[in-house]
């Protein structure tokens, strides 16, 4: 463990609940490294939050799972080291003892609240079951306890939530149920593995506040795994940074965030996009510029109201309530996008931002309204009528692992669009190799298959594919949300650079205001299919008009810390 500060005072908790000593977790032979976790030593004290930070593949989740011995043995196994819970070594405990510890002494909150809950059981019963296993209380007593825990995690109407099924709750409520589940036996330690990553930013802020508050009230030790330094700044007492299975930095939150020692930590902190909007290259002059995209009163509704057997509903009134409600995904939207500008569509999940973009690229058909794309009306066009317009607008997709055909060579993937536009195959292949170099990959990559590339590289291939038909407008649908922070920044910078070089108009869809601020001069905030605010990024950040925009802005985790960093950077340190 080189590179760690030698003074041990910030590196061990005063009253350690959990102590990990030289933990090594071995990977199977075929893996690219021999140890998933290598010589990690950590402590978590009573009432303290330790944030474990790292990118994908850093071994942070494996480390957390090895504490509860939830590793997929024998492929992954604890090779050496000790995991001491109040002095008892869990690395050598037997299975019956581990069952008592799981849930009772240590509990875990997982990332995805939908898949962590059993969809066929009411949430109340799922928590009740834990009490049934671990205690000898009667039914009424258990129920009282569950309802009290629901109250504790601020679930509305805890009595009725007890009988609710997971699908009846929102994402934030489900994660509260998961937290209630982890709290109900008052464990000594809670391990939370990216519990807010799947949540919207406003919900994330609420859940983080709740966890912090509960932890202080119950004095529980909390190990919080995350890749987001903003979250670290919000809740951590101490921070451990992991890379390739090793601990590269470990210390108090102030030390790590303001005076990072290890270059990797510094790189991670620098990669967090700042909330400060970029300076305009040129002020957007809306009066003289012509809009390249002109959307008027666009509407898209999913699920028709009144569909289904209405005669049945008349006969059996009880069935009427189950009819699917129509969702207005895009609700009377007006939007002008100027030639050469970069506009961010910001909103939480379900705000209709993706549907709007998919209507503009012809993947969805709008129900009503008008959308004019470089002079041509696109609403109501069939797939074949769209074909001549395909070279005008292209899309970069969200998931780099799903957006490339696994059975096609990268060169063919990129060249395909140009060939469809009438380019000769040889010329298209040559252009594909040029594009690969343009997006920062080697021309040789054309001969390889997508699975040989990392997520960031795949996203570059996706960008090259979109550029191959020389579009005027580029729609980027959350292009970096599936990537690690350090890779995010590179891809964003690449998009920004390409946009300037080719004079592209960019519509950037994101839920992350910081990402929007990083690449876009204009922001459009969507909520429930309606635009609630739009304007220059700097103005909206400085002076948000709509209540919802203000909530979004104040929910960004770690904003105070970032503001502090910027002030420090602005004022020269003596």
């Amino acid at each position: 463990m080189t590179g760690l500060p030698s003074n041990s005072s910030p590196n061990s908790a005063a009253d350690p609940v959990l102590e990990i000593r030289d933990l090594c977790v071995a990977l199977p032979e075929w893996a690219d490294r021999s140890m998933a976790v290598k010589n990690v030593s950590l402590t978590v004290g009573k009432g303290e939050t330790l944030c474990v930070v790292g990118e994908s593949g850093s071994g942070k989740s494996v480390m957390a799972r090895s504490i509860l011995r939830l590793l997929p043995e024998p492929h992954l196994r604890i090779a050496s080291g000790a995991i001491l819970l109040d002095g008892e070594n869990l690395a050598s405990a037997d299975e019956p003892r581990m069952r008592q510890i799981r849930g009772g002494q240590i509990s875990m909150v997982f990332q995805e609240p939908m898949v962590s809950l059993n969809p066929l059981m009411t949430v109340g019963r799922q928590i009740d079951e834990i009490l049934e296993v671990h205690t000898d209380w009667g039914k009424a007593e258990r129920r009282r306890r569950v309802v009290a825990t629901f109250e504790d995690v601020r679930l509305p109407q805890p009595e009725s939530i007890f009988g609710a099924y997971p699908h009846e709750l929102s994402g934030g409520q489900r994660q509260r149920v998961m937290i209630a589940m982890s709290l109900v036996l008052e464990p000594k330690l809670i391990i939370a593995d990216e519990p807010t990553t799947a949540l919207d930013v406003t919900t994330e802020a609420q859940v983080l506040t709740l966890m912090k508050e509960l932890q202080q009230r119950h004095g529980t030790a909390l190990m919080f795994i995350t890749h987001n330094f903003g979250v670290v700044a919000e809740i951590a007492d101490r921070v451990a940074v992991m890379r390739f299975g090793e601990l590269v930095e470990y210390g108090s939150v102030d030390d790590v965030l303001t005076r990072p020692q290890h270059p990797y930590t510094r790189a991670l902190i620098d990669a967090v996009p700042s909330l400060v909007p970029r300076k305009h290259a040129r002020p957007a002059d809306r009066s003289t510029a012509t809009p390249i995209v002109k959307v008027r009163d666009l509407q898209k509704t999913y699920g028709r109201s009144g569909s289904g057997p209405s005669w049945l509903a008349r006969l059996v009134p009880a069935l009427a309530g189950n009819e699917r409600k129509a969702v207005k995904a895009v609700n009377h939207v007006d939007l002008d996008i100027m030639q050469g500008s970069a506009v961010a569509l910001v909103g939480e999940s379900g705000s209709g931002k993706s549907t709007l973009a998919r209507c503009l690229i012809g993947l969805e058909r709008a129900d009503a309204g008008s959308a004019i794309l470089a002079g041509d009306e696109i609403v109501g066009r069939s797939r074949s009528a769209w074909r001549p317009l395909r070279s005008r607008v292209q899309m970069v997709f969200q998931d780099p692992f799903a957006s490339l055909n696994p059975r096609t060579k990268v060169g063919d993937i990129i060249a395909r669009g140009a060939i469809l536009q009438g380019e000769a195959p040889d010329a298209a292949a040559a252009q594909a190799r040029e594009l690969l170099e343009l997006v920062g990959l080697e021309a040789k990559a054309a001969e390889r298959f997508p699975h040989e590339f990392s997520g960031g590289q795949r996203q570059r291939i996706g960008i090259a594919r979109a550029l191959a038909v020389k579009p005027d407008i580029l729609i980027a649908d959350e292009p970096v949300s599936a990537l690690d922070v350090s890779v995010q920044k590179q891809v964003l910078d690449l998009l920004d650079d390409l946009r300037r070089r080719f004079g592209l108009t960019m519509l950037f869809i994101t839920h992350d205001l910081r990402v929007a601020a990083h690449v876009c001069e204009e922001i459009v905030v969507l909520k429930n299919g309606t635009i609630v605010e739009q304007g220059a990024t700097a103005e909206i950040f400085a002076n948000p008009q709509h209540e919802y925009t203000r909530t979004l802005l104040s929910s960004v985790p770690g904003r105070d810390w970032q503001r502090q960093l910027q002030q420090d950077a602005a004022s020269p340190t003596p």
Partner: protein, 276 residues
Amino acid sequence: MTKPFWFRFLTNLRVLFGLTWLALVIIGAIAAPLIAPLDPFAISGQPFVRPFDGFLFGTDSLGRSVWSGLVHGARTTLLIAVIATLVAVAFGGLIGALAGFYGGRIDNVLMRVTEFFQTIPSFIFAILLVAVLAPSATSVVIAIATVSWPPIARIVRGEVMSLRSREFVQAAITLGEGDFEILFRQVLPNALSPLIVTGSLLVATAILTESALSFLGLGAPNFMSWGFMIGAGRSFLRDAWWLVAIPGIAILLTVLSINLVGEGLNDALNPRLRTP
């Protein structure tokens, strides 16, 4: 995970066994006139000669060589089974791909048709078809293909449905690819592995169906086949057990081998389904 597909496939012991037996059967079928020069329908010696008594596997009630019947029968049985399976995979694959890709009304109509075929007991349906079409090699192929395409259609439909919502298919749409190009370039290559596995297992079922039809005398006339041999020898089971046992064992081993190979293909193509 780093091991290549062929390595994973061929190092599986069960696959090796299956492939060895299948190779023997296929070589035997191809080289039938060389290794068994006697006409399987010609009277070549005394009836009911025991195995290894002048004839390798003895003779039947009319003095025909069982060895010749076995080798020539392998030709008929394999050919009919493989062709029937190819027809079933092509037809079922097309129906499934169209239903899964277009969805909606087309899917509804095609799937109801598929269900119609699935509700009829398959063997009785096959007998009926052969009887109506008059027994011949072609009608046996048609009958087997007709009763075995619905599962293929269902599998392909499911695969296509899940693949067509993937982002790479949407990317192909935004690039302006036509429906058939998307189907054949983007979707079907990715649906190939379950199709290969089901197809290979279907050959085994086809062999069984063909043998059963031949047993009932509904097989291709003028072609020796394993099912026909069992059917002809069943009356002498107590006196001449080898007439039934030898082709029976051949069917058993061949079907077993195909199943082993099919399962091995499945394991090798979907390494995540099994923990080694």
